[in-house]
Structures are given as structure tokens and as C-alpha cells.
């Protein structure tokens, strides 16, 4: 793991804060591959459930396919993980990312694919990872998304949910319930896109007319954190 973890983060002490560091830290502590398999299965179910809603949001300011594209991608992820479940958290995320890149298309395929691949790569081949390590890895993944898309928070994109979500996951004051805090932060970030004017992607062609609509990418990104909180409970 490298210093890139702080690239998208204003938190002064991101990677070193271990909310669960005092709980023993033995070989059985932390999140294992099974946890990440449950998470991605939950994401697939949530995307399937919310697909029509996401497509409706996309119809207002994009091209009405966000839900169907993500459903195709995460269905492929679930199938691949079922068929041959990897043994480490990093490998689970990397496989999921590759599946998204090779099945979704559009902008969301490379962006979500890069998020999971890069996060998985940051986790390396550890069999178990702490919440803080996941938070740091996610921030590296989010930074990679920002770089690939050439965008920043406030552009009315998925970053508006991903950045606050990933930041909250590793923040020291979230030690009590980091997953709940991340979910709340991501959902708040997604809600706040309604007031923003799009500067990236197809919605940017609308200019001022994009104001008053939720961003579909931020909305689907919030689902990642909502399902993470569900699975962690």
C-alpha cells in the first residue's frame, strides 16, 4: 500500500487510523474474502432492485441506460464470483472490476471497473483487511476514478458520493460505526448532486438544465456504501 491513499482525501491522518486496531488484531480479525463476496452479491441485488429507478434518473439528464447497464455488469460479477470465488479480498474486488470493464461499456464500465480493480490492488494479497485498510484502499480507488474521468467532486458525478463515502469509512471519528457513517456520507453526497450543474459526461450538455436532477452515477455509488453497511451489520 502506498501514499496514494490520501490523494482524494483532506483527512490529515487517513491510512494510519485503525478504528478496530485495539480489538486484538489477531489472524481472525478483519474482513475476509467471504465478506467481500457477500458485499458484491448485495450490490448485485440492490442494482437489480434499483435498476429502473437509476434508468429513470438517467433519462432526465443522460441517455436512459444507467440501470440496465449496471444490472448487466453486476449480474456478470455475481455469476463470475459464484463460479470461482477468489480467496482474498483483493482478488474478489479485482475480478469484479474486470467483469465490469468487460461487460458494461459506456462510461460507467471503465469507471466502476477501475474503482474495484484499483481498490483490490491496494489490498494486495492479504487474507483479511481492517476497516481502515479498506477505507484507505477505497480512497486510492476513488482517486483512480477521478483521474480516469478527469473530474472532481462538485462536477455532479459518482465522485460526489464516492469521495465522502470513502473518506468517512476511514475517518477516526467514525470508529463507532464507520460503515454507517460512510453510508450516510455517500447518500448525503448523492442527494446534494440535485443542486449541482453537471460538468462531466452526457449531462454536461444540458448546462443549467441539469440542475434539479439527482446524478444517476452518484445515486448508484451510494448503493455501494448502503450495501456495505448492510453486509457489515
Amino acid at each position: 500500500m502506498s501514499g496514494t491513499a490520501s490523494a482524494s482525501n483532506s483527512d490529515p491522518s487517513p491510512a494510519r487510523a485503525h478504528p478496530d486496531a485495539g480489538s486484538g488484531g489477531g489472524p481472525d480479525e478483519g474482513l475476509d474474502a467471504a465478506f467481500f463476496l457477500r458485499w458484491l452479491a448485495a450490490v448485485a441485488a440492490a442494482v437489480d432492485r434499483e435498476a429502473d429507478h437509476l434508468t429513470e434518473l438517467d433519462a432526465a439528464i443522460g441517455d436512459a441506460d444507467h440501470g440496465s447497464n449496471l444490472r448487466r455488469g453486476f449480474t456478470a460479477v455475481a455469476t463470475a464470483l459464484d463460479a470461482d470465488p477468489p480467496g482474498t479480498p483483493g482478488a474478489v474486488l479485482a475480478l469484479a472490476g474486470r467483469q465490469l470493464i468487460s461487460t458494461v461499456g459506456g462510461a460507467s464500465g471503465p469507471l466502476y471497473g477501475t474503482l474495484l480493480r484499483r481498490t483490490g490492488k491496494e489490498l494486495g494479497d492479504a487474507r483479511r483487511v481492517s476497516v481502515a485498510e479498506l477505507g484507505a484502499a477505497l480512497r486510492a480507488g476513488v482517486a483512480a476514478v477521478a483521474q480516469l474521468g478527469g473530474s472532481a467532486p462538485g462536477d455532479k458525478t459518482m465522485l460526489d458520493a464516492l469521495v465522502p463515502g470513502a473518506d468517512a469509512l476511514g475517518a477516526p471519528d467514525a470508529a463507532g460505526d464507520p460503515f454507517g457513517a460512510a453510508r450516510a456520507a455517500a447518500e448525503e453526497g448523492a442527494r446534494a448532486t440535485e443542486a449541482l450543474r453537471a460538468r462531466k459526461g452526457r449531462a454536461s450538455y444540458l448546462g443549467e438544465r441539469s440542475v434539479g436532477h439527482l446524478d444517476p452515477g452518484a445515486s448508484s455509488s451510494a448503493l455501494l456504501f448502503a450495501t456495505l453497511a448492510e453486509v457489515a451489520r
Binding site: D63, R72, I101, G106, A107, P110, G149
Partner: protein, 328 residues
């Protein structure tokens, strides 16, 4: 809609392409359309692709003198990198491959990933972005201009250069020149309906039109009460000329959006020629028809490409594809 189920629309169309055009190799599963004689020895190859729903773009432009391969994505969704990697491997003769990419966020990201992967496999790849739509302001506040009708000019003219044996750097330079010399403006008279949605992707009331519409039904500059063909021609040509300011004569594409009859398109073409004559812009060649479409949208677009002698010669060079064919 004339479909079976929404999920198989693209595959069904590819099976139809395969049955209709034995001169093409169509990989229905891998979603790649390749000219049957590829790789052509000593020739630079052109690969393009994009979301489906704009037919005949791009698959209909695969053949002698134009594209070597096309990669269709889902409807209005860019293809995935593996398609372009597969296409590049199938058509590369060792002289390199030019990717022709319309400027949409998804297309750019997927083609960029494909470029890296293909280069890892030893294929030399160059890329040209097509961004000709003057309806969108090219600024840091947008994703930049959209690629529309100029794609046809880029694929035809750069394809002719490649067919003549020009090296990759030259084919790429010509493609860039064509894009830089081209501008488009489109108008929608009705919204388009995607198979997945089963209905219109945006609301355009009867009796109104969208000036500056994109080829996925993206909004344009403004919405107005219905105008006559003459008024639309005045507005569209002036929008293009204001940006292009041509010093050379032009190639003209009067494009249909998919659901506008040729009877109306030719009437519109007459008005476009009238305006161009009034503005003192000579037209060297023109083409009227459905080439860069938006499913069942009704509407039209004007694309101008100012051409020097070299571009005109390459435009006139022989071409043999399902959708564009002359001199062969």
C-alpha cells in the same frame, strides 16, 4: 418496435448483417464486424465503434476503402475494450491500426483502455477523436463537442488514404484534418425510443422541435415551435458556418435522424443548397440519407467538411461497404 426482446436487439441485427453481407465476417458473440479479406497486407487498418442505434454507422461502413472493423456496443452504450482489442488483432497487418472514436465520455474511456491492451499485445495504435457538433460549447464546463456526422467523412477519407497505402502517421494526420475541417448541427422533430426503455427517451411535445439535438437525443441549444424546412436550413447552416468559417469549398452531408422520409430530406437538402449558395459557399459533393442515425428519431442534420484537392480526391476514391459504395 420490430424486435423480439430488448436484450437481443444488437445480436439479432448482427445475425442479419451476417446473413446479408457475406463480404463481412460478423462475430455475433464477440460483437465485431470485420471485412472478410482482413488483414490486408501492407495496409494500415481502421477500427471504429460506438453504441448501437446509429446504423448504418459503424458496421455499415466496413469494407474496401473505409473501415476494416467495427465494434457495436449496446444501444447508445459504448462497446467494451475487449471488442476493440479483438478487432485490432484481427485487422492489423503489421502496419498499425487507427481507432476512430466519437467524443463521448464512455467511448473515449473504453477505446483508451483498448489502446493500452492492444499495444501490450504488440499492435501499434493511433487514435483520432471526432468532435464536430457545434451545438455543444467546447469548454471545461462540458464533456466537449460530440462526435456526429463528421464521423462519416473521417472514416471515408482516412479509409481511402489507408487503402492507397499511406502509413499510420499519415492516415492519422488526414483523419485529424478531416475532423478539424468538419462541423455539424442537428435538429429533432421527435424523440427517439430505445428498446430497453420501450418509449421516448425525452419529452418533445408535438409541434415543437429541439435545435442542436445530439445523436442520442441529448438536448441542444433550445426548443422552439415547429419551423419550416426553409427556416431549419437557415438556422442549421448558419450555426455551422458561424463556427467553421470555410475558406475552401465543402463536402455536404444532409443526414436523416432515422425516421424522416427521403422525400422530406431531399426537400431540406434543396434548402441547404440554397442557403449555402446565398452565403457564397460552393458545394463540391453532397450526400443525402440516413447515415448517422438516432434509432427512430425524426429530424435532420447538416455536416460540412471543407475540402482541399487532396481530401476531395480521397472522398472520390472507390469505396465498397454495405452503406456507402461508388467506383467499385
Amino acid at each position: 418496435m420490430l424486435i423480439n426482446v430488448p436484450d437481443t436487439v444488437v445480436a439479432d441485427a448482427l445475425r442479419g448483417m451476417a446473413a446479408t453481407h457475406p463480404e463481412l465476417t460478423v462475430d455475433v458473440e464477440g460483437r465485431v464486424i470485420v471485412r472478410r479479406d482482413a488483414p490486408v497486407a501492407g495496409k494500415v487498418a481502421l477500427v471504429s465503434g460506438g453504441g448501437s442505434g446509429h446504423e448504418p454507422l459503424h458496421g455499415g461502413f466496413v469494407g474496401t476503402g473505409m473501415l476494416d472493423a467495427a465494434c457495436p456496443g449496446e444501444v447508445f452504450t459504448s462497446p467494451v475494450p475487449h471488442q476493440m482489442v479483438k478487432a485490432a488483432a484481427a485487422v492489423d497487418s503489421g502496419q498499425g491500426v487507427l481507432f476512430v472514436v466519437k467524443n463521448y465520455t464512455g467511448d473515449v474511456l473504453n477505446f483508451d483502455m483498448a489502446m493500452e491492451l492492444a499495444e501490450d499485445e504488440g499492435v501499434r495504435v493511433a487514435k483520432v477523436l471526432v468532435d464536430d457538433d457545434v451545438a455543444v460549447t467546447d469548454s471545461t464546463h462540458t464533456a466537449g463537442r460530440r462526435g456526429t456526422g463528421a464521423t462519416l467523412f473521417v472514416e471515408k477519407i482516412a479509409g481511402a488514404a489507408a487503402e492507397e497505402g499511406a502509413p499510420l502517421e499519415r492516415v492519422e494526420a488526414i483523419a485529424r484534418q478531416v475532423n478539424a475541417s468538419s462541423r455539424s448541427f442537428g435538429v429533432a422533430l421527435s424523440a427517439c425510443s430505445t428498446p430497453a426503455k420501450g418509449g421516448p427517451t425525452f419529452a418533445l411535445p408535438d409541434g415543437e422541435l429541439e435545435l442542436g439535438v445530439g445523436i442520442h437525443g441529448e438536448p441542444g441549444r433550445e426548443r422552439r415551435p415547429m419551423m419550416t424546412s426553409r427556416e431549419i436550413a437557415d438556422f442549421s447552416v448558419d450555426a455551422v458556418l458561424e463556427d467553421l468559417r470555410p475558406t475552401n469549398p465543402v463536402l455536404l452531408l444532409v443526414g436523416g435522424a432515422g425516421a424522416t422520409p427521403l422525400l422530406e430530406l431531399y426537400g431540406f437538402a434543396a434548402e441547404v443548397h440554397r442557403v449555402l449558395a446565398e452565403r457564397g459557399v460552393p458545394v463540391l459533393r453532397s450526400l443525402v440519407g440516413n447515415y448517422v442515425t438516432s434509432l427512430d428519431m425524426a429530424g435532420c442534420a447538416v455536416t460540412l467538411c471543407q475540402a482541399d484537392e487532396e481530401l476531395l480526391r480521397l472522398w472520390d476514391a472507390p469505396v465498397r461497404t454495405p452503406a456507402l459504395r461508388w467506383g467499385l
